[in-house]
């Protein structure tokens, strides 16, 4: 255990690659086929304490930077999109706590528990009636005089709700509060009931098991994040979501490019000849990949700089918000483009559901990227900010 505390980022990456090859990739096919939670992957992540990589060292975690977390998401993305997505969604919730709740004794202990118990955190922001508008809630937290609260939310999509150890729920601060006056509340397993309202038989990201539930919970007011949700969203959830998602999509796309390259090599080995167009397509594919990574890395660098400066208010600037939104809209569309191009190179082997060059799961997963917080909605926000700014 002590050795783990001192492991370097290189050690962590090596562990993740090993688990990717030995555990995550072999399970990916059945996880997708059966739309089931990637249990074996998360059992291995817990064993190797990978759920607390972003928890600061004072609470037992590795204290990695956001750039390093994004790199882990990217690595996982090349092995299994669903596993990577769950890992990323967990890290987003962890970041919201690490960045904003350090002043609360409850959350300090919670951070220590995320490490010692390797808790997996899920999120319920989407709500029936407001859809994907993160900044509006219908439900509210009802705090009684004794400090205990009740909370009920109709959530049409909560990824891995049944496998999580805690769910962070956004809601209005009280019964009278306007829709935008929100807080984020932690509900620990045992404190909530989940009443199923819809299943998750989807085209892709099937392993995320993002079914719908009415969640009914109780707890103590200490479990309410002290900072208004608007600020947690602007300073952390928004940038961290788009950057971790962009990273895992980049990994998923890179995995497809690698398959295409491998298939071209095999083609050459077999016939000693390569159609010129195939090599050209491979070169073009790498160009799109280059743009995808370039946009992601420049925004990531800026956010890392904001975090390092300690002034998270910089993340509220329109210029930065637009950039982070561009990461989401562009990466989520380029991933479909890249995997489609890879399929053209691989040919029928990529179109097959089986075989080592199959790109079907990757392509199906890729189509989900534009929908998780709909790109139209994000472009709507960008459109408004574009009117205000003078230069991008």
């Amino acid at each position: 255990m002590e050795a783990l505390a001192q492991r370097t980022f290189e050690d962590i990456k090596a562990t993740l690659h090993k688990l990717g090859t030995d555990v995550v990739a072999p399970a990916a096919i059945l996880v997708d086929q059966d739309a089931r939670f990637p249990e074996e992957a998360f059992a291995a992540f817990r064993e190797h304490q990978l759920l607390s990589t972003y928890i600061p060292q004072e609470f037992g975690g590795d204290g990695l930077s956001i750039s390093q977390i994004c790199e882990l998401c990217r690595i996982l993305g090349s092995y299994c999109g669903s596993t990577a997505m769950i890992f990323a969604m967990h890290q987003i919730q962890v970041a919201c706590i690490v960045h904003h709740a350090g002043g609360s004794e409850y959350f300090r202990q919670f951070m220590a528990r995320i490490h010692s118990e390797q808790l997996l955190l899920a999120s319920a922001t989407t709500e029936i009636g407001v859809g994907g508008d993160l900044r509006s809630s219908i439900c509210h937290v009802d705090v009684a005089d004794d400090g205990n609260f009740t909370l009920e939310k109709k959530a049409p999509v909560i990824s891995y709700a049944l496998n999580a150890d805690a769910i962070l729920v956004t809601c209005r601060t009280n019964a009278e509060a306007p829709a935008s006056d929100q807080v984020q509340v932690v509900l620990n397993k045992g404190q909530y009931e989940l009443e199923p309202i819809s299943g998750w038989d989807t085209m892709g990201f099937r392993g995320t098991c993002s079914s719908g539930f009415v969640i009914k919970g109780t707890g103590h007011k200490d479990q309410i994040q002290p900072m208004p949700f608007s600020q947690i969203l602007a300073h952390s959830m928004h940038p961290v979501s788009h950057l971790t998602w962009g990273s895992l999509w980049t990994g998923l796309a890179q995995g497809a490019v690698n398959k295409a390259r491998q298939s071209v090599r095999d083609m050459m080995r077999r016939s000693n000849e390569l159609p010129q167009i195939t090599a050209t397509r491979l070169a073009e594919l790498d160009e799109v990949m280059f743009s995808m990574k370039g946009g992601l890395f420049s925004a990531l660098e800026e956010y890392q700089d904001i975090l390092d400066s300690g002034n998270l208010f910089r993340a509220e600037k329109y210029g930065f918000s637009i950039q982070v939104n561009n990461v989401k809209t562009r990466c989520s569309e380029m991933i479909v483009d890249i995997i489609s191009r890879a399929m053209l190179i691989v040919g029928i082997g990529g179109y097959r559901n089986d075989g080592k060059y199959s790109l079907c799961r990757e392509l199906r997963d890729a189509y989900g990227a534009a929908l998780m917080v709909n790109n139209d909605r994000i472009r709507g926000h960008n459109a408004t900010m574009q009117v205000a700014i003078r230069e991008s």
Partner: protein, 79 residues
């Protein structure tokens, strides 16, 4: 004075959940009904009223979140 002019613009451009007279200078306008869309309307009206132009650097939630923060921004731009 400028506080009243700001209040008048806020009342005009933002669909507030309370009457403007019940809102204090430091209340968070975003939790009272200000949205990203209406922020732009608010910004443009203030630019017209005070004959100023907001610097890109000032374009963030923080600048628009309360009557006080708007007054500070206007002061800074008028200097």
């Amino acid at each position: 004075m400028s506080m009243d002019r700001i209040r008048a613009i806020v009342a005009q451009t933002v669909k507030l959940s309370k009457d403007i007279s019940d809102i204090s200078d430091n209340d968070d306008l975003y939790s009272l009904g200000l949205t990203s869309l209406t922020t732009v309307n608010l910004m443009l009206s203030i630019e017209d009223e005070f004959d100023i132009e907001f610097d890109d650097n000032m374009l963030s939630r923080q600048t628009f979140e309360s009557i006080t923060s708007l007054a500070e921004a206007i002061d800074e731009l008028q200097d």
